[in-house]
C-alpha cells in the first residue's frame, strides 16, 4: 500500500469494470483507479493484485455521486455546483453536457435597471428588466446567477460562417406579396442575397434584380406596389420588382456619402454626413433638400411607416428631436429629449391597435424614451423612460398582423417591446449576441425573425410565453453575501475561496466588485488570513466633508480554533473610486464576529454574536 502524493478527501466512487474505478474528491478532482492484476500468481497461492495506479483525469464540479452510464460516459451529480455528463479516456476527460444548478443559494438581491429614470419610479409594475441576482454554489463551484423572466427565441435554422454582418433586410421577390422570401445581408464592404424556397431551402443568388452587391447596403426594402429600393453609401436606386430593371437611380454628388436613410411607401429620406437631408419620392425625384450647419448635425433619421407624411430627425446638439413635413422638410415641431444624451435611433410604430402610435427614441447612453403622438396635431405627450443597456440600442419593427407591431431592441440586453392589456411591456429576450435583426415572415418560417450574431445568421421564432432565463458568471469562490448599489451600477460580494496548497486546505475571504450590466469582475479586496466574511452592506455615509457618499461595509469574523465563542471581528468600510476600484476608507476591530449589518439614522449598526453595537 503506497500513499498518494497529496492528501485529499474522497467523496464518491463508481465502478467502471472489474479493474477500473473512478474516484472523486472534495476539491472536484476526478481520479482513475486502475488495479494491476496478475493471474499467474494465483496458482502460486499469492494474491492476484500486484499494485494499483491512481491518475488524475481532470476537474469536475464537486461530486455528490458518480454514475457510470456506458461507453466511457459518467454522470457527475453535484449538490453544490452544476451536474455534468463527462466522457473519460485513458488519461483525461471532457465535459459533454452540463445541467445548470442554481442551488445552494446563499444570498440574493434584486436589481431593476428599468425603473431608474430621472422622474423616479413611474411604473408600479416591474419594467421587465428586473432581475434577481443570486450567490450560488460553494467554493470552486461558486457563481453569480442572474435570473430574468423573458421571452425565448427558438432557432429554427442557422446559416453558419457569416461573420461581421452589419445589417439585414427582408425582401419579397414577387410584387405585391407580403411574404418575405429573400434576405439581403449587408457586410462592411459587400452585400449578399439569399433566397428561401417555400420548404426552407436556402440558395445564395449571385445576381439579384440589379442589386448592387459590391458595396454595403444601408437600406433595402420593397417600396410602393412593385418597387424595390436599395440605398448604399453612394447610390440610391429603385428597381422594378417584376422585371428586375433599374428604373430610377441617384448618385451622391461631390464625393459625399450617405450616412443614414429611412423610407416608407411614399418618401425616402437620406442624410448626407448628418449635414444635409434630402427627401425623395418613390421615383427618386428630389422633393426637398435642407442643410443643417455643423452646429446642428443630425444623429438619426426616421420616416413614419406606412405612408405617413412626417419624418423624424434627431440632433447631436441639445438632444433634440424634430418632426418634419416630408414634402417640404419644414420643421413642424421640436422637442428636447434628455439632458445629457443624444438620440441615435427613432421609430414610430403602432403597438396598440386602436390607440395613437408611439415614438420610441433610443439614446446613446442606453436609455429608451417613448412619446405618444397625435398624428393630426403632431402633439407629443410624454411616455416612459427605461434603461436597457450602456450603449445605444437600435430598433426593429416586427409585424404581428392586424396592423399591430412589436419592437425588438438590439443592445447588450436585447428586449422585446409589446403591448399587453393596454400597457407597454418591456421583456428581456434570450438573444444575448444579436447584432442585427429583421422580421422574416416567410412561407417556410411564418412569423420568424432573422438574427445576425457576430459569427452567424439565424432564423428564429419568438416564443409567446415568457420563461425564466438564468445567466451564470463563474466566480470560483463561494459568494456568501451580495449587496447592490444602483448609484455605482455595481454590486459587491463577500466571497470565500478555498484552495489546497501543498496538501493543506487554505480558506481566504475577499470582497469583490462586479459591474451590473456586463456582469464582469472589476476589483477584489483581500481580507486577512483566517478572517471570514460574514455580512456585506451598501449604504450612504458621511465622507468627512458632510456629503453623503456611497460606501460598502463588510463585517467579518476571525476563525479561531478554540471553543471560545467570543471570537474577534472587524468592520471594513470601502469606497469605489472613479475608475471603479475598491479602496478601504476605514477599519475597525470588534470584540465579536460581525454577523449582520444595518443602517440606523446615519449610523452603522453591527450585530455581533452576543451584542449589538452602534458605530458612529
Amino acid at each position: 500500500m503506497t500513499p498518494l502524493e497529496e492528501a485529499t478527501i474522497f467523496v464518491a466512487w463508481e465502478r467502471i469494470d472489474s479493474q477500473r474505478h473512478v474516484l472523486a474528491d472534495e476539491y472536484g478532482r476526478l481520479y482513475l483507479l486502475m488495479v494491476e492484476v496478475n493471474r499467474d500468481n494465483i496458482a502460486q497461492g499469492h494474491d492476484m493484485i500486484q499494485g494499483w495506479n491512481l491518475d488524475i483525469l481532470g476537474e469536475t464540479s464537486r461530486a455528490s455521486i458518480l454514475v457510470y452510464l456506458d461507453a466511457g460516459l459518467i454522470f457527475v451529480g453535484s449538490h453544490q455546483g452544476d451536474s455534468q455528463v463527462i466522457r473519460i479516456t485513458e488519461k483525461s476527460m471532457e465535459v459533454v453536457q452540463t445541467f445548470p444548478n442554481i442551488a445552494p443559494i446563499l444570498d440574493f438581491t434584486i436589481m431593476d435597471m428599468g425603473n431608474r429614470s430621472g422622474e423616479g419610479q413611474i411604473n408600479e409594475y416591474s419594467s421587465g428588466q428586473a432581475r434577481i441576482v443570486t450567490g450560488s454554489g460553494a467554493f470552486n463551484d461558486g457563481s453569480l446567477r442572474s435570473v430574468r423572466s423573458g421571452v425565448a427565441l427558438e432557432d429554427v435554422g442557422v446559416l453558419g460562417e457569416l461573420e461581421h454582418i452589419t445589417n439585414l433586410f427582408d425582401l419579397s421577390s414577387t410584387p405585391s406579396s407580403r411574404e418575405a422570401d429573400t434576405l439581403l445581408v449587408a457586410f462592411i464592404n459587400e452585400s449578399r442575397v439569399f433566397k428561401f424556397s417555400v420548404d426552407g431551402e436556402v440558395e445564395e443568388i449571385d445576381d439579384y434584380k440589379g442589386i448592387i452587391l459590391s458595396e454595403t447596403t444601408l437600406l433595402a426594402q420593397n417600396i410602393s406596389a412593385d418597387g424595390l429600393l436599395q440605398v448604399t453609401t453612394t447610390t440610391a436606386q429603385v428597381i422594378d420588382n417584376e422585371s428586375g430593371m433599374v428604373q430610377y437611380t441617384w448618385s451622391v454628388p461631390n464625393r459625399q456619402t450617405i450616412s443614414a436613410v429611412s423610407a416608407n411607401d411614399r418618401f425616402i429620406l437620406v442624410s448626407l454626413g448628418g449635414m444635409t437631408i434630402i427627401a425623395f419620392d418613390v421615383n427618386l425625384e428630389i422633393l426637398a433638400e435642407r442643410s443643417f450647419g455643423t452646429e446642428s448635425q443630425l444623429s438619426c433619421v426616421s420616416t413614419s411607416p406606412r405612408g405617413g407624411d412626417i419624418g423624424f430627425v434627431g440632433f447631436w446638439k441639445d438632444s433634440n428631436v424634430s418632426i418634419l413635413d416630408l414634402k417640404t422638410l419644414r420643421t413642424i415641431r421640436t422637442i428636447t429629449i434628455a439632458d445629457d444624451s443624444v438620440p441615435r435611433s427613432l421609430i414610430l410604430t403602432q403597438i396598440f391597435k386602436d390607440e395613437l402610435p408611439i415614438l420610441f427614441v433610443a439614446l446613446a447612453d442606453g436609455r429608451v424614451v417613448t412619446y405618444n403622438i397625435d398624428t393630426t396635431t403632431h402633439e407629443l405627450s410624454s411616455g416612459t423612460s427605461i434603461t436597457l443597456g450602456t450603449q445605444e440600442p437600435s430598433f426593429t419593427e416586427l409585424p404581428q398582423g392586424d396592423g399591430v407591431y412589436n419592437v425588438f431592441v438590439s443592445c447588450e440586453h436585447p428586449s422585446l417591446i409589446y403591448g399587453s392589456e393596454g400597457r407597454l411591456v418591456y421583456s428581456a429576450v434570450t438573444a444575448e449576441k444579436a447584432t442585427s435583426v429583421c422580421s422574416f415572415d416567410s412561407r417556410a418560417y411564418p412569423g420568424a425573425v432573422a438574427i445576425a450574431t457576430p459569427s452567424d445568421l439565424r432564423i428564429s421564432v419568438i416564443d409567446n410565453e415568457r420563461t425564466t432565463h438564468v445567466q451564470p458568471l463563474a466566480i470560483k469562490e463561494t459568494v456568501r453575501r451580495i449587496a447592490y448599489s444602483p448609484t455605482l451600477k455595481a454590486f459587491g460580494m463577500g466571497t470565500i475561496k478555498r484552495s489546497l496548497i501543498r496538501g493543506v486546505e487554505v480558506i481566504k475571504s475577499h470582497f469583490k466588485l462586479a459591474d451590473e450590466i456586463l456582469f464582469k469582475e472589476l476589483d477584489t479586496y483581500e481580507l486577512n488570513e483566517d478572517e471570514l466574511v460574514e455580512s456585506v452592506m451598501r449604504c450612504e455615509l458621511d465622507d468627512g466633508t458632510g456629503i453623503l457618499a456611497e460606501r460598502f461595509v463588510v463585517g467579518t469574523a476571525y476563525l479561531s480554533d478554540d471553543e471560545d465563542v467570543n471570537v474577534r471581528g472587524r468592520i471594513v468600510v470601502l469606497e469605489v473610486t472613479e475608475d471603479r476600484k475598491l479602496k478601504p476608507v476605514t477599519k475597525m476591530a470588534l470584540k465579536g464576529g460581525c454577523r449582520c449589518l444595518a443602517m440606523l439614522d446615519g449610523n452603522i449598526v453591527a450585530a455581533l454574536i452576543k451584542t449589538v453595537r452602534i458605530v458612529f
Binding site: I9, F10, Q19, L33, V35, D47, M48
Partner: protein, 128 residues
C-alpha cells in the same frame, strides 16, 4: 437482500423470492419484513458486500470499515446467513458471524482518514 446500517444494528431487508413451499405468490419481488441484527461495531464509516465466487454458493460477505472504541480504524468481514421464515407470518432469521481469516493478510489498523470501501472482483481487496 438489502441492508441498512444504524449504530450497532444491521437491518436486513429480504427481497421475497420464489419458494417451493410458499403458496402465496403475490408478494414476489416485494420487500419483506426488516430483520435487525446486532453487531459490535458502532461507528461504521463504510460498508460493502464483497464479490463472491458464484459457483461456490457461499453466504454473502459484508466488509465493514469501522472505528473501534479506541478510535482506531479497522476492517472486519462478516458472513451473512439468512433463513426464511417457516410460515408467512414470521420473519426470517439472520446471523452475522465474524469471519476469521488466516489466508488473507489484513492489516490490523488502517489510516484515520479511511472513508470508503470499494469491493473489487476476483481477488478480494479493499480500498480507502
Amino acid at each position: 437482500m438489502t441492508l441498512e446500517l444504524f449504530e450497532g444494528i444491521v437491518t436486513v431487508i429480504p427481497i421475497i423470492q420464489r419458494h417451493k413451499k410458499r403458496k402465496i405468490d403475490g408478494d414476489f419481488g416485494n420487500l419483506g419484513e426488516p430483520i435487525p441484527v446486532r453487531i459490535d461495531e458502532f461507528f461504521v464509516r463504510s460498508s460493502a458486500f464483497l464479490h463472491g465466487d458464484l459457483q461456490l454458493r457461499e453466504d454473502p460477505k459484508l466488509a465493514l470499515l469501522y472505528e473501534d472504541t479506541q478510535s482506531n480504524v479497522r476492517l472486519k468481514i462478516r458472513s451473512l446467513m439468512y433463513s426464511p421464515a417457516a410460515s408467512s407470518s414470521e420473519s426470517g432469521n439472520v446471523s452475522l458471524e465474524e469471519v476469521k481469516d488466516d489466508t488473507r493478510q489484513m492489516p490490523d489498523e488502517l489510516e484515520l482518514g479511511a472513508s470508503h470501501l470499494i469491493p473489487l472482483e476476483f481477488p478480494i481487496g479493499k480500498r480507502h
